[in-house]
C-alpha cells in the first residue's frame, strides 16, 4: 500500500521486508538471495553476476545452483559497500564461488567483502577489506579500516583490527545483544522511525 501514488520513496520495500535503495547497484539480481528485512543503502554494489561457472559436482546439472550472493535476515549494508563473490582457479579453470552471509550482519560504509562465508551477528566496520575466501564465524567484530587477508578464518567472539587483521580482543558475554540489528532496521526506509532510546 505504500506504492499508492506516493512520493517515490528512497527505498524499494519488498514483501519480505527488504529495503533496497533505488540508488544501489545490484548486478545480476537473479543470483542475489535476500533473506528478508535486509537494508541495502544507496551506492551499495552487489556483484550477483559473478556466478559460479563450474558446478561443484558434475551430476548436478538438473538444478544448477546459480546463487552468487546469499544474504540472511536483518542484514545492513551501509552506503558504498561492495559485496563481491570470491573467485579462484578450480581444477585448472577460474570460477567464482558463492558469498554467503548469515543474519544480523552489519557491513560498514565503503567496505569491500569478498568472503566465502560470514556467520550471523557479525559487525564489519567502515572501510574494511575482507579478502577472498575468508571465513568469518558468528559474533565477530571487525573494527574500522581492517584488512582481512584472503583465506583467513576468524573464529567466533573475536574482535579483530589492523592490517593484516589481528585478534585484539574477545566479545564479552554481555556484548551479544549489541549485534542485534532489528532496531537499526526500523530506523531506515521510506518512513523511518527514531531509534528507541
Amino acid at each position: 500500500m505504500s506504492s499508492r501514488r506516493p512520493p517515490r520513496g528512497e527505498y524499494i520495500e519488498t514483501d519480505t521486508g527488504n529495503k533496497v535503495a533505488r540508488k544501489a547497484t545490484l548486478v545480476g539480481t537473479q543470483n542475489i538471495m535476500l533473506g528478508g528485512k535486509t537494508v541495502i543503502q544507496p551506492e551499495v554494489m552487489i556483484r550477483g553476476d559473478l556466478v559460479r561457472t563450474i558446478q561443484a559436482s558434475s551430476q548436478s546439472g538438473a538444478t544448477p545452483n546459480s546463487t552468487a550472493v546469499a544474504i540472511g535476515r536483518y542484514c545492513f549494508l551501509s552506503r558504498g559497500c561492495c559485496l563481491r563473490p570470491p573467485g579462484r582457479l578450480y581444477k585448472g579453470a577460474f570460477t567464482y564461488m558463492p558469498l554467503r552471509m548469515g543474519d544480523h550482519v552489519f557491513v560498514g560504509p565503503a567496505s569491500v567483502v569478498q568472503a566465502a562465508s560470514i556467520g550471523s551477528h557479525v559487525h564489519i566496520g567502515a572501510k574494511v577489506a575482507i579478502g577472498e575466501f575468508a571465513i568469518i564465524k558468528d559474533y565477530v567484530r571487525i573494527l574500522d579500516g581492517t584488512v582481512v587477508p584472503p583465506n583467513t578464518v576468524i573464529p567466533s567472539f573475536s574482535i579483530v583490527a589492523g592490517q593484516p587483521a589481528r585478534l585484539i580482543g574477545e566479545v564479552p558475554e554481555g556484548g551479544h545483544e549489541a549485534f542485534e540489528l532489528r532496531d537499526l532496521y526500523k530506523t531506515v526506509g521510506n518512513n523511518p522511525q527514531p531509534a528507541p532510546s
Partner: protein
C-alpha cells in the same frame, strides 16, 4: 581532537578495599556495601587504580548467589575447550601436553605479517595442456610445496623450506631446518642418546665428532643432555667431596638448589628427598654429551649479512616474539635476527572458557563445549540485572524539542563550552521484571584538577518493571514499512499519551516550555526513565601560577563519578530454598545493589 561519544563505566566491587577481606559468607560483600553508603568517600575516576576497575556494562557478569557484580578481573576462568582458530578443530588436552599449545595440523601464520599461509606448489608454471583440458583431473600440482602468504607474498622458500607432500606440514616442518637441511626430532634424539656405540665412543673419536655435534646441539638437545648429566650426578652417591658444604647450600653448584630449580621445570619428578640431605658441589658439564655448548662468539657472518641486507633484512621484535620457542634449531646464542631466519608460525590455540564467581565459586558463565556452537549453558551478564545507562546531550535552546527529546538534541561528540551549563539526558533502562527504585549520588564537584559542577536534577525515581519480550514482539506487527509501521506509530503515540496523563511526575510537556524542574523526571517509558543532569564544565585555562603544570592527556575529559543504588523487591528464595518452603511462598524480600559508575560526557573546549 577525537570526538568522544558519551560512555558509562561501572566499577566492579572487587576493587573496593572493604570487600577484599572476603569471608566465605556470600552475604558479607553486601553488608560492606551498605557500610559504604555512610561513607563520604568519593570515587575518583582519575585515580590510577580506577583504570583497572572500570568496565563497560557488557563486560560485567553478575553472580546470582552473591547478588553482586563481577568483572573480568575478579572472575576465575576455567578452560572448557582448546581449539585452533584457523581449522577450528578441537584439541584434546592430552594432545596439549604432548604437542604443546599450537596447532599440529597444517595451520600456519606468516612470520612476516601473521597472515594465514596456504600450501602451494612451488612449480606453478601454467601448463597449457591443462588449461586446454580442464576435465583432466590428474593432479596438476606436483613436486615440492611451499607455504605462501597471500597478504605479503612471503613464501617459505625464502627461508629455504620446501615440502615433499602437501599434507602433514607440521610434521615435515619439525624435521626441517631453515635452508632445507634435516633436523633431529625429539624421537631421533632419544634414540641417538640410547645408542651405546655413540655414547661411549673412545675419546679420540669423540673429539673427531665434536665439531659435527656442536652444530647439532639445539635447545632441546642441550636441555636434555644437561638434564641427564645433572641427574646422573645427583644419583651418584659419592659426589660429596667438597669442603664448602655449608656455604654452598644455596650456591650455584649445589645439588639442593639445582634439584629445586629442576623441579620447577620438570614438575617435581626430579625432587629427591635424599639429595636434600647430601651436600656438596657438583662438577659442571664438560663436553657436548653433557650439555656443554660453547658460545659462538664469531658474529662475522651476521655482520656480513647485515651489511648486505641492511636494516630491512632484520626481524622486528614482534616478529621474533611471535616465533614459537624451540622450533628455531639454533641455540640461544645464534637466535635468528634476520627475516630469512624466521619460520612459519603454527597457530596458537584458542580457548573457550567458563567463568566462576570468585567468592561463592558458582559458575556464572559457561559456553557450550563444541567449538562451532556459540550458545552458552550459563550466561549471567550484568546487563540483565542492573539498569543500563545511556547518555545523550540535551539542548534546550531549540525550544521546540518535539515529543521525543532526541529530535534537536545537541550534536553528540561536540566539545563542551567551559563555564556554560550543559544538560545531559540520562536514560536508565530496567532489565528486571520488578519495578526498581533508583537513588543516585554524585559529588557536586568532580574530583580532579579541574572541578566541574554537577547537578543531578532528579536523584531519586522509580522505574517500572520490564515486561516479557513476547508482549513487545506480539504488539509489533513486524511488517516492515507501509501500513504496519503507521499502525505501530499510532499505537506508540497512544501509549505515550496514556503514560503522559498517568504520570503525574512525568515530564511536563512543551506547554511548559521545557522547564527543567528539580525533582522531576524528564521522560518515562515502559521500563525506562530519563533524567537530566546539569553540568557546568570547568575552565581549563591554566592559572598564571608558577607551579601550574601544563594540561595532561585527557585532562579535558569531563567524567562524573556517580553512585547508583537500586532497590527492588524480589521473590524470596533462591538462596535458602529449604527455609522458604516452610514459610509463606509469597514472601518478598527487599534487595539492593549499589555501585559506583563513571559517566564520561565529553571533552571541554580548551
Amino acid at each position: 581532537m577525537a570526538a568522544l561519544t558519551p560512555y558509562t563505566y561501572i566499577q566492579c566491587p572487587c576493587s573496593d578495599l572493604s570487600t577484599l577481606g572476603r569471608t566465605s559468607d556470600p552475604k558479607s560483600p553486601r553488608a560492606d556495601e551498605a557500610d559504604d553508603d555512610d561513607d563520604d568517600r568519593t570515587f575518583d575516576p582519575r585515580a590510577p587504580r580506577s583504570n583497572y576497575s572500570l568496565y563497560p556494562l557488557e563486560y560485567l557478569l553478575y553472580c546470582e548467589d552473591c547478588h553482586q557484580i563481577r568483572c573480568p578481573r575478579c572472575v576465575s576462568d576455567e578452560i572448557v575447550t582448546y581449539y585452533c582458530p584457523n581449522c577450528l578443530f578441537e584439541v584434546p588436552s592430552s594432545n596439549l601436553k604432548s604437542e604443546g599449545n599450537r596447532c599440529t595440523r597444517s595451520c600456519f601464520q606468516c612470520p612476516i605479517c601473521i597472515g594465514p599461509l596456504a600450501v602451494t606448489s612451488v612449480e606453478t608454471k601454467p601448463d597449457p595442456s591443462l588449461l586446454a583440458a580442464p576435465d583432466n583431473t590428474a593432479a596438476p600440482h606436483s613436486g615440492p610445496y611451499a607455504l605462501t602468504c597471500s597478504y605479503c607474498s612471503w613464501t617459505s622458500t625464502e627461508a629455504g623450506i620446501k615440502f615433499d607432500k602437501p599434507n602433514g606440514i607440521h610434521a615435515q616442518l619439525a624435521k626441517l631446518r631453515n635452508g632445507g637441511l634435516t633436523r633431529l626430532t625429539a624421537k631421533e634424539r632419544k634414540e641417538r642418546r640410547k645408542d651405546p656405540s655413540h655414547r661411549f665412543a673412545p675419546a679420540a673419536e669423540r673429539d673427531h665428532e665434536r665439531s659435527a655435534l656442536d652444530d647439532k646441539l639445539n635447545l632441546e638437545t642441550q636441555f636434555a643432555n644437561l638434564k641427564s648429566f645433572y641427574q646422573s650426578q645427583l644419583a651418584d652417591p659419592n659426589a660429596s667431596d667438597s669442603g664448602l658444604a655449608a656455604l654452598s647450600d644455596l650456591g650455584f653448584s649445589s645439588p639442593t638448589s639445582l634439584s629445586r630449580i629442576m623441579s620447577i621445570y620438570t614438575g617435581g619428578s626430579l625432587h629427591d628427598k635424599k639429595a636434600k640431605l647430601r651436600v656438596g658441589a657438583m662438577r659442571e658439564a664438560l663436553d657436548t654429551d653433557e650439555g656443554l655448548q660453547l658460545a659462538d662468539l664469531d658474529e662475522s657472518a651476521a655482520i656480513a649479512q647485515l651489511q648486505c641486507e641492511g636494516y630491512d633484512g632484520t626481524a622486528s621484535t614482534s616478529q621474533l616474539s611471535d616465533q614459537p620457542p624451540n622450533l628455531g634449531e639454533a641455540h640461544l646464542h645464534g637466535r635468528g635476527r634476520f627475516i630469512s631466519d624466521l619460520r612459519p608460525i603454527p597457530y596458537l590455540l584458542r580457548t573457550k572458557r567458563s567463568k566462576r564467581c570468585p567468592v561463592c565459586r558458582h559458575i556464572i558463565s559457561k559456553p557450550e563445549a563444541k567449538v562451532q556452537t556459540t550458545r552458552f549453558r550459563i550466561r549471567l551478564v550484568a546487563g540483565s540485572y542492573i539498569p543500563s545507562m545511556a547518555i545523550r546531550p540535551l539542548s534546550l535552546s531549540g525550544g521546540s524539542s518535539g515529543t521525543s527529546a532526541s529530535g534537536s538534541a545537541g550534536i553528540p561528540g561536540a566539545l563542551l563550552d567551559p563555564l556554560r551549563p550543559a544538560h545531559y539526558l540520562l536514560t536508565f533502562t530496567n532489565p528486571i521484571f520488578e519495578s526498581i527504585k533508583v537513588t543516585l549520588g554524585a559529588p557536586a564537584k568532580t574530583p580532579g584538577r579541574f572541578a566541574s559542577k554537577v547537578t543531578v536534577l532528579c536523584p531519586e525515581f522509580d522505574i517500572d518493571a520490564n515486561t516479557d519480550v513476547w508482549d513487545e514482539a506480539l504488539k509489533d506487527p513486524g511488517g516492515g514499512g507501509g501500513g504496519g509501521g503507521e499502525l505501530r506509530d499510532r499505537e506508540r503515540e497512544r501509549e505515550r499519551e496514556r503514560r503522559r496523563r498517568k504520570g503525574e511526575e512525568g515530564r511536563n510537556m512543551s506547554s511548559n516550555n521545557n522547564q527543567l524542574e528539580v525533582g522531576k523526571i524528564w521522560e518515562r517509558g515502559r521500563n525506562w526513565v530519563s533524567i537530566v543532569v546539569e553540568v557546568v564544565p570547568a575552565s581549563l585555562r591554566l592559572d598564571h601560577g608558577a607551579g601550574e603544570q601544563p594540561l595532561r592527556e585527557d585532562d579535558d575529559v569531563l567524567e562524573i563519578p556517580m553512585f547508583v543504588r537500586i532497590e527492588w523487591e524480589a521473590e524470596a528464595g533462591g538462596d535458602e530454598v529449604g527455609a522458604v518452603i516452610g514459610r509463606d511462598r509469597e514472601a518478598r524480600e527487599r534487595r539492593e545493589l549499589a555501585y559506583w559508575c563513571v559517566l564520561g560526557l565529553g571533552r571541554i573546549r580548551v
